[in-house]
């Protein structure tokens, strides 16, 4: 996919004006990760209330793809059922971004936020909800993302 297709107006807008950027005080879920190859960093905070995502915020440093992807992910899940968030796939994220043919190096940028989210859900499910079966499944999904 060419740069002109990747760096569309919407991606640049989310990169420069990220929605839901910041931190939540005492979040139910707090998770961070980095990409050791490029040094990109991402931290996500979520609050879960009545089985819904009541609030979600992120902070991070990185390229346009990773930061826009994280911001667009927060918009995708805010207010959604917890079950929906648990089932999010790689394709959902790439659909949401409109980026389907990224090369192996850059797809990691697009999926870093989903990876962080899934590891966050894993901790929440295993430690707070004691739902080991779901937690293990999500952890497996997270480690298999890229």
């Amino acid at each position: 996919m060419s740069s002109a297709d990747i760096y569309r107006e919407i991606i640049l807008d989310y990169y420069r004006n990220p929605r839901n950027y910041g931190k939540i005080q005492n979040p139910d879920i707090a998770q961070k990760d980095s990409n050791p190859l490029c040094g990109d960093e991402l931290e996500m905070h979520l609050n879960i209330k009545d089985n819904k995502v009541a609030d979600v915020k992120f902070t991070g440093k990185g390229c346009a793809i990773s930061q826009a992807s994280a911001s667009m992910l927060t918009e995708l899940i805010i207010g959604k059922d917890f079950e929906y968030v648990k089932k999010l796939t790689k394709e959902d994220i790439l659909d949401n971004l409109g980026l389907h043919e990224l090369g192996p190096a850059r797809i990691k940028c697009a999926l870093l936020s989903l990876k962080v989210l899934k590891y966050g859900l894993y901790s929440y499910l295993s430690e707070k909800l004691k739902d080991t079966a779901s937690a293990d499944r999500i952890k497996e999904e997270a480690s298999g993302l890229y």
Binding site: S3, L12, G39, D40, G62, A64, I65, R106
Partner: protein, 414 residues
């Protein structure tokens, strides 16, 4: 429009990879030479000739193949000694690369000589390979790791070294001869002079300097010196550790095994002579032989010419880059003080995005932290883009690169 000092056209013909196209039809413009350089056909053929015609293990067997292989392998040692102007060939130890050379020193010399509350001094512009092994040593021994800072011009603040040396606790000062991010050439003479006065050991990480300029170890007078073949037209998997004979003699082996022994008994072993004491196991014979051809190639051009060519190209590139609005260049703008490495950021385009965009035009640059996260923190950036040149790069390639940067600006609407 090549630089005036070397015949680039004829040099380029020796590099088969420069004929290939990337992204379908774009000629390859390879500006990632600080990471690794391309290899001329002569080096590739020297390696394949070994495997085709005299592949055998060295030093032990008495048959003809082994004699030829041993001679070719040991011939490289002589060439390296001459190339960096070292008197004693047995002070040249072949290792896998600069990283292994530094680890050898921290493991063998460090564990014997560095103790609790001693100080190890490094700098803020080191590659991770000249930080992490010292951190491991410091953790193990209880020694302290201190850093010489970098000023806004990309140069080391050498006054800080005086402070550390005055403590009387410094055991070794370790620094890169040329920064792999800023291209700054370190004032080695000054550092070494200061260390000599206090009887402090000095390690020079020469991974970025030996490939690009003349180096004379008899003048430099350091204690340890390390560099890699693959950054100077040679194959990967070969590097050199040079150290003064009396130091190597005093040090315990790094790896135990074949070839590094004199006599092995059930519970006791005596070591082989230098340098074999530090070359356990079957070495990387083919690539050491290939390295010899790489040195020949550079010597034919002349290291003074290599340096001159890179200075001319770097000046040309810096002039053009500095005219781009929104361009942030790192390091000094005094050409004499820097090598052919240019780190930069363009507007708010993240280096990974920039590298992706200009890759479409066939240009290979590096983006990221360049294994120098301590320096990235100092510069207060997460990453930079880096273009680095070598003997086969041309001003026309720089022009294509500059045009590509303007295209990136358009795509990012800046």
């Amino acid at each position: 429009m090549q630089t005036s000092v070397i015949n680039i056209e004829s040099i380029r013909k020796d590099f088969p990879i420069l004929k290939r196209k990337v992204h379908k039809d774009k000629p390859l413009i390879y500006f990632d030479n600080a990471a690794t350089t391309q290899k001329p056909i002569q080096v590739i053929e020297a390696i394949s000739n070994y495997y085709l015609n005299y592949n055998s293990n060295i030093h032990r067997a008495v048959h003809e193949l082994a004699e030829e292989a041993t001679a070719a392998y040991e011939n490289t040692r002589d060439k390296v000694a001459k190339f960096i102007n070292v008197k004693n060939r047995e002070e040249i130890v072949f290792v896998r690369g600069t990283t292994e050379a530094i680890n050898l020193v921290t493991y063998s010399w460090g564990r014997q000589n560095v103790h609790r509350d001693d100080i190890i001094v490094t700098t803020e512009y080191e590659h991770h390979s000249n930080i992490v092994p010292w951190q491991l040593l410091a953790k193990e021994t209880g020694a302290k790791l201190e850093y010489i800072g970098v000023d806004d011009n990309g140069e080391l603040i050498l006054d800080q070294l005086d402070g550390y040396l005055d403590s009387g606790r410094v055991k070794i000062v370790t620094f890169s001869h040329m920064s792999n991010v800023l291209g700054t050439i370190t004032k080695s003479d000054e550092i070494i002079r200061k260390c000599r006065k206090k009887d402090v050991r000095v390690l020079v990480d020469a991974a970025q300097s030996v490939p690009h300029m003349e180096v004379d170890l008899q003048k430099l007078d350091c204690d340890f010196f390390a560099f890699s073949a693959h950054k100077m037209l040679g194959p990967t998997g070969v590097g050199v550790l040079w150290a003064k004979k009396e130091l190597l003699e005093s040090m315990s082996p790094f790896n135990g095994g074949g070839d590094m022994i004199r006599e092995v008994h059930k519970y006791e072993t005596t070591w082989n002579d230098l340098p074999y004491k530090f070359e356990a196991g079957t070495p990387n014979i083919a690539d050491v032989i290939g390295f010899s051809t790489a040195i020949d190639y550079l010597e034919r051009i002349g290291m003074d010419k290599v340096r001159e060519h890179e200075m001319e190209l770097t000046k040309y590139a810096l002039d053009k880059l500095s005219q781009i609005k929104g361009m942030k260049l790192y390091g000094t703008n005094e050409i004499a003080k820097r090598g052919g490495v240019i780190s930069f950021n363009l507007g708010d385009i993240h280096p990974h995005d920039l590298a992706t965009i200009i890759d479409e035009d066939g240009i290979a640059i590096r983006s990221g932290h360049h294994c120098a996260q301590v320096l990235m923190e100092r510069l207060d950036v997460a990453a930079t883009s880096r273009a680095s040149f070598y003997i086969y790069n041309t001003k026309e390639e720089v022009d294509v690169f500059i045009r590509s940067l303007y295209r990136a600006k358009e795509l990012f609407r800046i």
